[in-house]
């Protein structure tokens, strides 16, 4: 019940109190009251409305008490004004535009004044309904650290008087990007978990998907939101196929495609469709989702539409230039047009400082050289890649390939 209602209750209370921390405390108190009363009185018809009304009454009591205590303070006038504003709300209908409050809660939890880690913790706590121990466990972080992160985040929001609102105009895009970043971070934290890990960690993927789906319903006109949802749905569709029973990751082309989850792939494709129908220019999440869809739609690796992947990477590199994207584009070019076309693209990245220790650069280069019959040069690059990788298994593989160059 808490998981279903908490986000909406907290969102409604934040609008009332203008303080996320206080809103959550009040909601928790209302939950305690519910656990005491409902066994006797029975569960009310609309549990969410009951919780909100109970918490609102407590909020008003609190404001009254504070107002009395602070009579001598200059704040009195302002408190009374708050009181006057809030009391009628208690009696107003309970079907407020809940969705708007929820969206405001998303934006405030992911506000850029907070560090990315704090945003993730606060979002999972307020919107995902996770407890602090659950969040700590999912992020493999000590519980006091997460607790402190959440407390500090709430304090920062209060101290900086961050408004409880949906940003408008040009600010919206930047703020939305911050929200999407947090959701994707939560997803990747779960996605990087391996077989045998605590169940709470992989479940982060589901938490992120749920947050993304909620956001997509709240902001149906934002293609990047659908893009992120699509990207996560398609990546999640490979969960079953991407790790071997002994915990080793299986690369995309070696995965058993029959183990991909078709339900999630269909949902991902539908989300891409929704994004495209909006008719706004596509952003990085939608492009990445479309890249993922190229693989998801190929029944075998041979069926992969490489020319399309090249063109998507080209567009992605234009919007968000990055050497890693260039390297990926080069791999796609080699698949679409052959190693000769791709080699100059890879060689152009040789002096890129951010890739200086990236083992995949020499590894890709070695593979292209090998295919072109330039064995000696390939061997040197395979050995270089082997010296850069942190993964023992991968090193063994690369050294074996180096040895095969003769």
């Amino acid at each position: 019940m808490w998981r279903i209602e908490s986000a909406r209750v907290i969102a409604g209370l934040t609008r009332l109190t203008r303080d996320v921390g206080l809103a959550e405390d009040l909601a928790q108190e209302a939950l305690v009251a519910a656990l005491e009363q409902w066994p006797q009185s029975g569960v009310p018809e609309n549990p969410g409305a009951w919780l909100t009304a109970t918490a609102k009454r407590r909020a008003i009591d609190l404001f009254r008490r504070n107002a009395v205590a602070q009579r001598k303070h200059e704040d009195l006038a302002r408190d009374l004004a708050t009181l006057e504003r809030t009391v009628p709300e208690l009696y107003s209908t309970l079907d407020d535009p809940i969705g708007d409050d929820l969206l405001r809660l998303v934006f405030i939890s992911c506000h850029p004044v907070l560090s990315t880690e704090s945003r993730a913790a606060l979002t999972l706590r307020l919107l995902g309904g996770l407890t602090t121990p659950e969040i700590a466990r999912a992020f493999l972080t000590p519980e006091p650290t997460i607790a402190q992160r959440i407390v500090r985040a709430k304090r920062t929001l209060a101290e900086k008087h961050i408004p409880f609102e949906v940003p408008g105009g040009p600010e919206l895009a930047a703020r939305l990007a911050s929200v999407l970043e947090v959701i994707y971070l939560i997803f990747n934290e779960g996605y990087s978990a391996t077989t045998g890990e605590d169940l709470i960690r992989p479940a982060l993927c589901e938490d992120a998907l749920r947050l993304g789906r909620i956001l997509a319903e709240l902001t149906p006109r934002e293609p990047e939101v659908h893009g992120l949802v699509a990207l996560m749905e398609i990546q999640a569709s490979r969960t079953r196929a991407r790790i071997s029973p002994d915990g080793e990751p299986i690369l995309l082309f070696a995965q058993n495609r029959a183990h991909w989850d078709n339900l999630l792939i269909r949902r991902g494709l539908a989300a891409i469709d929704r994004a495209r129908k909006i008719g706004k220019p596509r952003g990085p999440y939608l492009l990445q989702a479309q890249l993922a869809a190229c693989h998801a739609c190929a029944r075998t690796p041979e069926e992969t539409d490489w020319p399309r992947i090249v063109s998507l990477y080209t567009e992605l590199a234009t919007i968000t230039p990055s050497p890693v994207i260039e390297l990926n584009r080069a791999v796609a070019v080699s698949m679409a047009q052959g190693p000769q076309a791709a080699l100059p693209l890879v060689e152009a990245l040789a002096n890129e400082p951010s890739l200086a220790h990236y083992h995949l650069l020499p590894s890709v280069q070695a593979d292209l050289l090998y295919k072109l019959g330039r064995q000696q040069e390939a061997r040197i690059q395979f050995e270089r890649a082997a010296s850069l990788t942190q993964n023992t298994r991968e090193r063994t593989l690369l050294l074996a390939r180096a040895a095969s160059c003769g």
């Binding site: 998981r3 004044v113 319903e217 079953r240």
Partner: protein
């Protein structure tokens, strides 16, 4: 985790050419929208009456086809949905909020957990998890907070 919510058939849903009552359809639509908005609904579908279906019976190597309709409405299903939620309790809570498919009468919905990869995976021991927490705490920038 994923749950399949199985809506059992009623004499009404088994009637030939029957379509659900429009008022019920509207309520169902609202309910499903709630599920969608909460990000928990993965898929849903309704089924035609069993008169449009068939059964294949297996006996050793032989296969016998029996055409519908089938009796005992309670044993038949009329529709299903797939929910992604945190627990059986949450799935139950959602299902309790659904409208009764047989307004004024009896109907039944069954909730079953779907097998997923994690169900086959070994789970780490408490020490292994603690070890990971400690290892991660030593990594730089992990606890950096503004």
């Amino acid at each position: 985790m994923r749950f399949m919510v199985i809506v059992k058939a009623t004499p009404e849903s088994e009637k030939q050419g029957s379509l659900p009552d429009p008022e019920l359809m509207l309520e169902m639509g609202k309910y499903n929208e709630e599920l969608s908005k909460a990000g928990v609904l993965l898929a849903l579908d309704g089924l035609h009456p069993s008169s449009k279906g068939a059964r294949v019976k297996f006996s050793g190597k032989s296969r016998t086809v029996v055409d519908g309709p089938f009796t005992e409405a309670k044993e038949l299903i009329a529709g299903f949905s797939m929910l992604q939620v945190k627990s059986l309790e949450e799935a139950i809570e959602w299902v309790k909020r659904a409208p009764n498919c047989n307004p004024g009468g009896d109907s039944e919905v069954e909730i079953r957990q779907v097998f997923e990869m994690v169900d086959f995976a070994p789970v780490l021991t408490e020490e292994q998890i603690q070890h990971k927490v400690e290892r991660r705490a030593k990594l730089p920038n992990q606890t950096a907070d503004k």
